[in-house]
């Protein structure tokens, strides 16, 4: 698909047409000359795996373009075809401008050499001329904050220092088009943020970025447009939010969007009111299914009253993947006197919080009760629907609450005290 919005006459940064790529998977691979000599007539049988089928797209200059897909969907293969590491079996790829690939940081780093040699070597491999590589050495070291460790061999670097050096070299390559694989996003959260800051800066400078990832948070945050691949085929291309939704659908094997409430099914409660819809975010029509961590999270509950109800309370429970209630909230705390509702009245009850949930899938359960003991249930909404929290902070806890830490050294215990307190 070629963009309608593309200015006529302006060439795309990258264009692919009918790209096919298949891999041969030999059943029994003869890896030696001996076998070939002993069985000259045996044809090696092999299966063919279509890694990419009929992929066509174009990326406009200055666009931040995401390629998403599950493992084995062909997204990394596509990136390698774009980078010229794999040859396509059919189809054509064009690019306009200097292209640079970040599939892995520090390709060709030699642990036995010091920073200077490695920066030169890595820079040249990434496409710099030796003169450019030398000229940029100082700024590389400065960005990596490794001024004091220049003479150290790389094998004595910590892994963090290694990654910092590699990343600094990579961003010195002034390419017009950057192909970035998600494996780049290794390292701690601070480093990832630094990576993304740089990518954002490059985007603002008008460079074209093609970004392969699993992280729907990153896609919706950074990309102008995205493409979804599944089994080597393009499923959709377009708005990153829509692509993220489709991706989540595919990954979780079912529709994670909010179903239209099925009013016919038997439900708990007396039916004086019904939850007719639950949605995430401000815009009901958006059908968001992804909530970003550390950002405000709002769940809205649309309730339709079928008869007169006084002071109803709506409560929300967010269950995580293990069915553990992570958040429980009710409107009756702040809005005890929620008022009287007439028949056929419609109201929205909103629950807003700062999203401190751990990344994962959440399942909201909404209950409407009459005020009082809370047992007088009007409606309970538990159907199969959920949203996904994405974010970089995944400590392993159920929630990601910011924690301040402090260390106070109290000194060394007097020997008498140590002897006195053996039981303690």
């Amino acid at each position: 698909m070629f963009d309608d919005e593309m200015v006529p006459g302006r060439r795309p940064a990258v264009a692919a047409q009918d790209v096919h790529k298949r891999f041969k998977i030999p059943e029994e691979r003869s890896h030696t000359l001996k076998e070939r000599a002993l069985h000259p007539l045996r044809r090696s049988r092999h299966d063919e795996l279509y890694a990419l089928k009929d992929i066509s797209f174009s990326v406009a200059p200055g666009e931040f373009f995401g390629i998403v897909g599950r493992n084995g969907s062909g997204k990394s293969t596509l990136l390698k075809c774009l980078a010229g590491i794999y040859r396509t079996d059919r189809g054509k790829i064009w690019c306009n401008g200097r292209l640079s690939t970040f599939i892995e940081l520090g390709v060709g780093f030699n642990p036995d050499l010091a920073a200077r040699d490695n920066v030169a070597l890595n820079g040249i491999m990434l496409g710099l001329s030796p003169r450019e590589a030398r000229a940029r050495y100082d700024s590389v070291i400065e960005f990596a904050e490794l001024e004091e460790f220049q003479e150290l061999k790389l094998k004595n670097y910590s892994s963090g220092m290694n990654v910092r050096l590699a990343f600094s070299v990579a961003i010195q390559v002034d390419a017009d088009i950057l192909l970035i694989d998600e494996v780049l996003a290794v390292g701690d959260a601070a480093f990832q943020q630094k990576c993304f800051d740089v990518f954002t800066r490059m985007r603002d400078e008008g460079r074209t970025i093609i970004f392969v990832t699993h992280d729907m948070g990153a896609v919706t945050r950074f990309c102008h447009r995205a493409m979804l691949l599944e089994r080597g085929e393009m499923v959709m291309i377009g708005d990153p939010g829509d692509v993220a939704d489709r991706y989540l659908e595919l990954s979780f094997g079912r529709n994670v969007g909010y179903d239209e409430p099925d009013l016919a099914s038997p439900r708990m409660g007396d039916g004086a009111a019904r939850v007719s819809e639950v949605w995430l975010g401000d815009d009901r029509a958006e059908h968001r299914t992804v909530a970003l961590q550390s950002e405000p999270l709002t769940l809205n509950v649309l309730v339709r009253f079928n008869s007169h109800v006084v002071n109803p309370a709506v409560s929300l429970t967010l269950l995580n993947e293990h069915n553990q209630p992570v958040v429980v909230a009710t409107t009756s705390d702040e809005h005890e006197e929620s008022g009287g509702y007439q028949e056929a009245e419609v109201a929205v009850f909103s629950f807003s919080m700062h999203n401190m949930l751990a990344p994962g899938r959440y399942h909201p359960v909404v209950t409407i009760t009459r005020r009082g003991d809370g047992l007088d249930v009007i409606d309970r909404f538990t159907r199969d629907m959920s949203f996904v929290v994405t974010g970089k902070s995944a400590s392993g806890g159920m929630v990601e609450i910011p924690v301040q830490t402090e260390v106070n050294r109290w000194g060394i215990l007097h020997p008498d005290l140590i002897q006195q307190a053996p039981e303690a």
């Binding site: 030696t32 000359l33 306009n96």
Partner: protein, 296 residues
């Protein structure tokens, strides 16, 4: 979502990996810098640094010298040039060391640099070429030792020393041809490595390293079969190259390459073979280059 057929290209086409790529400077820069960093590693990598690199041919020379000269008196064989036999032996060992390093080192080179091949786009040929270049750096240093040794042994400067670049160029052409061939084939056939080790050993003894070509010729006599055998022997381009080195660099009295072949015209045979090996090596490497990343 219909795809318009495009008659005009939308920019530079991306054709996938190739042996050489579009830009010669880039190929050369990569080759040179890979070789340079490897050289640096060897030079500064260990406590005794480059001494070991020079010691290897010297040690081999020592062993062969004791065995073949002091015990078996090969230096008195026909065409062995007596007093400067040692310098000829060392020179040939150094040349063969270059050939052995360039070809033996190339066998695994592409497979060993898998991460490079699979992760960045660059002219694939830079890998075996850098192995040959690294061997050439070593050769340059070793040749200095050889020439010092030769002068001490009584060799005086000759006009024919100017033939050295030609001799080295021929050897380098042969070595890089074999290097390309082996490194490309090893991706498919992993038993290339032991096969080449054995073959390399055979070449060592089938070249005028220990025995001068003239001695081989006189040993073989004049029968019909002997004649064919000798012809096969001289087909090995290393025979021509080493013999010419002994003649031009160490002792003018030693038969030249042309003389051992019978005529200068006959030299076209080994030269043609070198060219054929180089072209074949390049052709095979070039054919394999686009899918090396997938076959690894």
């Amino acid at each position: 979502m219909s795809t318009p057929r495009l008659s005009e290209p939308l920019g530079q086409p991306i054709r996938g990996p190739r042996a050489l790529g579009e830009s010669w400077p880039r190929f050369w820069q990569l080759t040179y810098n890979i070789a340079r960093s490897e050289f640096k590693l060897k030079f500064f990598g260990s406590a005794l640094g480059y001494l070991w690199q020079v010691m290897r041919p010297l040690l081999l020379f020592g062993v062969l010298y004791v065995f073949f000269v002091l015990v078996f008196h090969v230096d008195r064989a026909k065409g062995a040039a007596g007093h400067v036999y040692g310098a000829q032996l060392l020179g040939s060992i150094v040349l063969f060391t270059f050939f052995g390093e360039a070809t033996g080192g190339a066998v695994r080179s592409v497979v060993d640099r898998e991460s490079l091949v699979r992760k960045i786009q660059f002219p694939r040929l830079a890998i075996p070429a850098s192995v040959t270049l690294l061997a050439a750096f070593n050769l340059a240093l070793n040749l200095v030792v050889v020439m010092i040794f030769a002068v001490i042994a009584g060799v005086r400067p000759m006009w024919s020393w100017f033939e050295l670049p030609l001799i080295i160029a021929m050897l380098a052409l042969l070595a890089s041809g074999v290097a390309m061939l082996l490194s490309a084939l090893f991706v498919r056939f992993r038993d290339i490595s032991p096969i080449w080790e054995v073959f390399s050993q055979i070449l060592f003894y089938a070249s005028p390293v220990i025995l001068p070509a003239e001695a081989v010729r006189s040993e073989l006599g004049h029968g019909h079969l002997d004649h064919i055998l000798y012809h096969v022997y001289t087909l090995n381009p290393l025979v021509t190259i080493f013999q010419q080195f002994r003649h031009a660099m160490i002792n003018g009295a030693t038969l030249s390459a042309g003389q051992i072949m019978g005529s200068w015209l006959a030299l076209l045979e080994p030269i043609a073979l070198v060219v054929i090996i180089f072209v074949l090596g390049f052709w095979i490497f070039n054919r394999e280059a686009p899918h090396i990343a997938e076959d690894l």
